[in-house]
């Protein structure tokens, strides 16, 4: 887990250790402090840590919503059109399907369809509760669906510093931004800059570890087994370059290409199902633009095209594990 704490951004100024979830809450707190137009909305949002926000900002900035995901998402979009800057917490990423009509048909399209008259500065938080026997209706990783929608930005930070810096960038962006956070990352601790203007730019990948033999792009929660696998391989002298895209749309293909030019081998690890996922898109672009740099076919390790099972016995090996990743790296060598 040590490697997750590495940052490519030069550390300027003070930082403190905190968990991913605390860093996320701090980002929201600071942005609400900075801009009074920012407000939070979601189901049961005034509890689970939201109580601190209510205490500081009052109930007019933290709104509990009825169980109407589709329409309260639209409410957020309407409020954004009218000058507010909402953060819509959709609780569990599987619920984003209920909200998808409003996100896709309204939030993503209205700026374009009105010839730029309307800005929609809004952030949608989608927490991915993939493991722990949640069963298939609470365990989705739906980001690939939204990658196919023009007009949306999508981030998937994996370190405490990145969630803080990217969440703050999302709030300030001025366009609809979806945030996919893997709950497996919530307890991770890391150094987080205290500067209230610390931002991580949307669209920039982070090289988590430099290497020379294989390029490994790890998406969202897949970073955890990836780092375990890479640490084990490193003990054998196998040098893997690990890239965390941090932003899924727009993807930072330049950084991927530069790494592939060095290693000639590419592995993509992610927890989404294998058909039309992030790895599919990266593979396509690398095949189009970096084919001559590749020494071996691109490999993907991801969840199978099967629903997330309930039983721990079935769920245990469902998502890419340390051993799956080690085996895939070996295949590329």
């Amino acid at each position: 887990m040590e490697n997750l704490k590495q940052k490519t951004e030069p550390a300027t100024g003070a930082s403190v250790q905190m968990t991913y979830l605390d860093a996320l809450m701090q980002a929201q707190f600071e942005e609400m402090e900075r801009d009074e137009r920012v407000f939070l909305m979601g189901e049961d949002i005034s509890v689970y840590g939201g109580d601190k926000l209510v205490e500081r900002f009052g109930k007019n900035r933290v709104w509990n919503m009825p169980i109407s995901e589709g329409s309260f998402t639209g409410l957020g979009i309407g409020a954004a059109i009218n000058g507010s800057r909402p953060i819509v917490d959709l609780s569990i990423a599987s619920f984003v399907y209920l909200a998808s009509d409003q996100i896709i048909n309204q939030a993503a399209k209205l700026r374009y369809m009105t010839g730029g008259q309307i800005d929609i500065p809004i952030v949608f938080r989608c927490c991915m509760f993939s493991v722990g026997s949640k069963a298939a209706q609470h365990a989705d990783r739906p980001y690939p669906f939204f990658m196919n929608v023009p007009g949306l930005k999508i981030i998937s930070p994996t370190s405490p510093a990145d969630i803080k810096g990217l969440m703050k960038s999302a709030v300030r962006d001025g366009n609809p931004v979806l945030v996919f956070e893997d709950t497996r990352l919530w307890p991770l601790k890391g150094d987080v800059p205290t500067d209230p203007d610390f931002l991580v730019p949307i669209g920039k990948a982070d090289i988590k570890r430099e290497g020379t033999d294989v390029t490994l792009i790890a998406i969202a929660g897949a970073i955890r087994p990836t780092m375990e696998a890479v640490n084990a391989l490193s003990a054998e002298g196998i040098s893997v370059e690990v890239i965390d895209p941090r932003t899924l749309k727009p993807l930072d293909h330049q950084t991927f290409k530069k790494s592939v030019a060095k290693t000639g081998r590419l592995l993509i690890v992610e927890n989404a199902h294998q058909v039309c996922n992030v790895g599919s898109e990266i593979s396509a672009v690398m095949a189009e633009e970096a084919f001559d740099l590749l020494k071996k076919p691109i490999l993907r390790v991801c969840a199978p095209d099967i629903h997330v099972p309930f039983s721990p016995a079935l769920e245990k090996d469902f998502f890419p594990s340390k051993n799956d990743i080690i085996a895939a790296v070996r295949r590329l060598l």
Partner: protein, 313 residues
Amino acid sequence: MRQSKAGRIPGSFHASIGQEAAIVGACLALSDKDAMTGTHRSHGHPIGKGAHLDALMAELMGKEGGICKGRGGSMHLADKSVGIISESAIVGGGLPLAIGCAFSAKIRDIDQVTLCFFGDGAVNQGTFHESLNMASLWKLPVIFLCENNGYAISTSVAQSHGQPDIALRAGGYGMPGVTVDGQDVVAVFGAAAEAVRRARAGEGPTLIVANTYRFDEHNFGLVIPGQPYRPVEEVEAYKRDRDPIKLYRTHLLAEGLSEQQLADIEAEVTAAIKQAVQFALESPMPKPETLSDYMFNSPLVGHNSFAAGLERN
């Protein structure tokens, strides 16, 4: 319609002819700073809210001079400068946006009412129920104006509504529901003005059902084969006896306006429309290299830049 027949209006064109009183009566109750959302049939609505005819007509023709730069078209006539925040062609899609607009005004303590137009078809969408609930719960300054023209394309209210008296549904959400003669502009204005008063006073939303009639097909030129879904006599009777413009004309004459005064107004309107058509015809088409304009509030860089996309395609 003449322009549509001449092939100058691309796509589907959903005329609101026959529904003018419901539209104008409601819009007149608002002030300039108030907001409005519309539907795929909201052609007259932006006019009622004060958008400029020239830019609206140019938008219908997909021109660069269109109100949405030719990116929206006839079903999406937004004009932020006069508070028209959007028109949704997803039936029922505008209701959440309208309550959100009103929500934002409320939490920022701004005196602004949002008028939300939708049709009888949208009443059967989940967004109608969810939005009415939230508007009532938080007493949002919003007016739900249902233009009940009796038919969702070919499906009548009787065929699709368990409770065909749409205004009764308001009771389920703790707000007043009123039904008005949607062909009577004075009646619609009266109901809307009371709803605006309530909204400004912090008393919350109102559902107004304006019973009206669509004189033309669902969209211009549409031919639905087989048995007609509405009797020809019904359509003829509405056009003959219930045309809101004719009715109001009669009303104004009775009020003491002269034929000459009305003729002058009509000539003025005709001239404005001619001018708008002329403007639209002369406005250039958007240039192909502007395809990606207006996607985001600032250009993206790198592989996902618009330029990269254009090159690849």
